[in-house]
Symmetry: C2
Amino acid sequence: MTCELCELAGPREAAPVVYRDDKLSVILVDDVNYPGFCRVVWNDHVKEMSDLNGAERALLNEAVCRVELALREVLAPTKVNLASLGNVVPHLHWHVIPRFDWDSHFPGPVWAAPARDVLPAPVTRLRTPLPELDARVVRAVAALAPGD
Amino acid sequence: MTCELCELAGPREAAPVVYRDDKLSVILVDDVNYPGFCRVVWNDHVKEMSDLNGAERALLNEAVCRVELALREVLAPTKVNLASLGNVVPHLHWHVIPRFDWDSHFPGPVWAAPARDVLPAPVTRLRTPLPELDARVVRAVAALAPGD
C-alpha cells in the first residue's frame, strides 16, 4: 500500500511542496475555503508524535510554531488551529489552519458541517497574496534546518 | 466575560481536573463517545501556542506527549488525535483523543458527522478502567512539574 505522504519525498514537482529539508516538508493545502491552510509533514513514515525522539519532536513542534507565526504575521487570522489526526493517512503530519471569523465553518472546526457560504471567494479577502505567505513560511522553517 | 477554562484555576472540586500544577492542568472530558478524551489546559489565559515563550511551549508540548503516551500504554488506541483549536474559547488548550477503529466517527475527525452508533457503550470496550488511566496520566505529567 502506498502512503500519499511518503510520496512527497519523491520529485518535488509531484506535490505543492513549498519547503522541504531532510526531516520535514511544508505543503500549502489547495482548499478554496481555506487559503493559507498549511501542512507540516514529517518525512519519515511514523505514526504518532510520541514515536519521535525528544529532539525530533522539538524540531517538528518548533516548525509548526514557526508556520503558525508566519500565518499570524502575514494573514492576521482570528485564530490558528493546530491538529495532528492521521486516522486515514497514519503518517505524522500537522494541519496549521488560519481561521477567520468570516470563514465557512467559524467558530466550528473545519471538519464540522459548514456554517455559511463565503462570497466573494476567501482568497480575495486575505490582506496579503498567498505567494508572499509561501515565501514567509519558507524563511521561517528553513531557519530551523539541520546545519543552519 | 468569564472564560470557562480560567475557571479551572478555581477550586478543584468545580471541575473534573485530574492533574494541576502552576503551569498546566489535565482534564478528563466527560464524553460518552470518547472515554479517555483528555484536555491539557495552559493555566494562564493565552490564546495561541506562539504566544508562549520557548520554554513554556516545550513544557506544554511535552505534557501533551506524555498524555498521549499514557493513553497509548493504557488504552492501546488505533490512533491518537491532537488538536489545539480554541475558536469558541480562545484559551490555549489541547485535545488529546484516543481513537479506535470502532468509535463513533472513525476514521473521521470527532468533529465531523458521526459514522455509526456504538453499542455497547464505548467505556465498556476499553481494555483498562478509566480510573487507572487517570492515575497513569497524573504520574506522567507530574514528572514534568517545575521543581521535580
